[in-house]
Symmetry: C2
Subunit: 387 residues, 2 copies
């Protein structure tokens, strides 16, 4: 454990995650004007670092960093990139598909959900068929649904959309994927990836981070009605982001200065190494977790290897055990996992987040410790229940 | 300067403001689950502390703490407490009246602005007349407009509204007033006070804080159309806030955990003393600043004493001087003021924020140092310009 943090159980839920010491300390920066040159530089550089995070060099792509939760990213999409009466196709792989759909519907967008059974994902064939049935303004893909740990094949879906319905904007909810799952924004020809600061990016929660393609910005600019939100309006934020990145102060709403410092630190750390290395480290850690889960005779919600996330694992508990039987035993061993979130089966599974410093700082031994704790806590719980 | 912060110029803009050491350090708390008992307690207590901040004991009043900028509070009002086609009366005392009006209009609300000349405020007579001309669903009052330093008499306006148009919701933009200007939420019978974390509350920016009356919640519940925002929806947040305050975990979007820790610390400090003492301290500091401004032969944007804010002072520069002539001289002396913000006269004035620890921690001498620096910087600037 880093020396400046008090001893504490290791947070291995699928976000928020453990903080690197330097990231945490960045927030203790003294007060600065949000329009003063020092902070303008930090904010401007953070925007450029977001481009690097997404491996994007496209001058028409536009990053946004806005005070808010990841959820705010849905409003940014729904209130700017679709209009009342437009059609949206939502690929549903868990809780967050329903929520994104609810957000789109709030703004009058008609939603068709393509739902996979729990633990599965819509196939490319099903998606192709759906795309042929209606003209969709946007398709939304939860890259990793935090409620199920199901990973979507964003690259293939984006290629399919470009082939079948080239005008449809490809929107990726990357809250549980950015920083741990491969994303090549330009190369995959994505239109929006929205995320939050507190998962694999390793920053405290409180920032909504959105990357838009030139095509997405064009869609915004060609709206026939004004944007349907004020705080989430691309029009209100676009000049601000462009100005800050050009190191010019600008004001629409006060940025979360201390969180931006933390973001700057963590993105500097992340992008100092090739992103491919970071993705590989998460894949390796995930493979170890998945192997241990199999060894324990347990199964994952995500039923097929190709649809299993690399930053988290959703694990079915043995029959007869519920999260409250196991989580306290983990806590006793200094490890925090999350309970289930998918409402239909919430009492049947637990979630293990393996992202950020717990993966990349191997000296912490977080993953091995957690696997050992899981083994012991399960054995203890089974014994207590006479299983 | 507190020992744990690096030496730095004193931030005396009208927000963000200087941080108390303990508040800043609170953000270095190790990572916690947003639904774990430790954080649930901190968040729940913070909500209760918001009630104390507003001197409210009404069980039907409801505080909200949401990741976002103060601006988000406008969307919360506009998308929940008014419906498309409703009428709103906006009292305009500067930049923020126009912005709140723009936000309301985004959601289809018809806005009538009652504009006072720069530095003045609409009179009670004018407000009474406006209220009699139309049936308004909401009236919005910028308690202190950060662009002009003009203070509105919220207590008298609220009483007037109750007498003339009792169904009109009284909405106060308290971004630049909560924590330094007197507000008695229940006693004044207010419906909404929205604010942000980074001004007189003394927390870093990134939290939108909104206090709603039972009448406001009833208005939300009796909408004939669904709320017009997802992230800003009272319906989405209300059960979350109620659960956290009852110390039950709940999830809609991940809260900004580290900022909530900072908020808890600063609200604990603030509410440990009677609020009246805090308001008096800000009035005394403000009186000293205003006396010094007068002594320098300068005038304020806020032309009448009763309409002058107590947490900031907007000061007209001597003819021939612009902010870039004076601000660097202040910076050289370790003091940061803000330039003008009101677009019509931005080059003619500067803004001095006197809130929070710079006022209450008198051992810092921030106010006296700033007054001395202002005197010297002005003299220097005049000499340089041959004035």
């Amino acid at each position: 454990m880093p020396s400046s943090q008090a001893p504490h159980p290791t947070l291995l839920i699928p976000g928020p995650i453990e903080f690197d010491d330097a990231v945490l300390q960045s927030m203790s920066h003294h007060a600065e004007s949000h329009v003063g040159p020092a902070f303008v530089k930090v904010f401007g550089e953070s925007l450029t670092l977001v481009r690097k995070l997404f491996q994007s060099t496209s001058p028409t792509a536009q990053p946004f960093i806005i005070a808010g939760s990841g959820t705010l990213g849905w409003d940014i999409v729904a209130s700017n990139l679709a209009e009342k009466g437009d059609e949206a196709l939502v690929l549903h792989t868990g809780y967050f598909g329903d929520s994104f759909a609810a957000c789109l519907e709030t703004y009058g967008v008609h939603v068709t959900q393509l739902k996979a059974p729990i633990g599965e994902r819509p196939s490319l064939g099903e998606i192709e068929q759906a795309l042929k049935e209606k003209s969709y303004k946007v398709i939304t893909i939860t890259h990793v649904d935090t409620s199920t740990g199901v990973l979507n094949d964003v690259k293939s879906i984006a290629a399919l959309v470009r082939r079948i319905s080239p005008e449809t904007l490809v929107v990726v909810d990357g809250v549980c994927s950015v920083g741990c799952e491969e994303i090549a924004f330009d190369e995959w020809d994505l239109d929006v990836v929205l995320t939050a600061s507190q998962k694999a990016i390793g920053c405290p929660p409180g920032l909504s981070i959105v990357m838009c393609s030139g095509r997405a910005i064009d869609r915004y600019n060609s709206r026939s009605t004004p944007p349907a939100s004020f705080y989430a309006s691309i029009g209100n934020w676009l000049p601000i982001m462009q100005n800050y990145e050009s190191l010019k102060p600008s004001y629409f709403a006060t940025p979360a200065t201390q969180l931006v410092h933390a973001l700057h630190t963590t993105l500097s750390q992340i992008t100092a190494r090739p992103m491919a290395e970071r993705f590989a480290a998460h894949t390796q850690a995930s493979d170890r977790v998945k192997a241990a889960v199999a060894e324990l005779g347990l199964s994952q919600l995500a039923s097929k290897p190709e649809s299993q996330a690399h930053g988290m694992t959703a694990i079915y508990l043995p029959s007869g055990l519920a999260p409250p039987d196991v989580l306290p035993g983990l806590m006793k061993r200094g490890v925090i996992f999350a309970a289930g979130l998918h409402k239909e089966i919430a009492t049947k599974y637990i979630r293990f987040g393996h992202m950020g410093v717990s993966v990349t700082d191997t000296g912490r031994n977080d993953i091995d410790n957690a696997i050992a704790a899981l083994k012991e806590a399960l054995a203890e719980a089974k014994q207590a229940k006479g299983l």
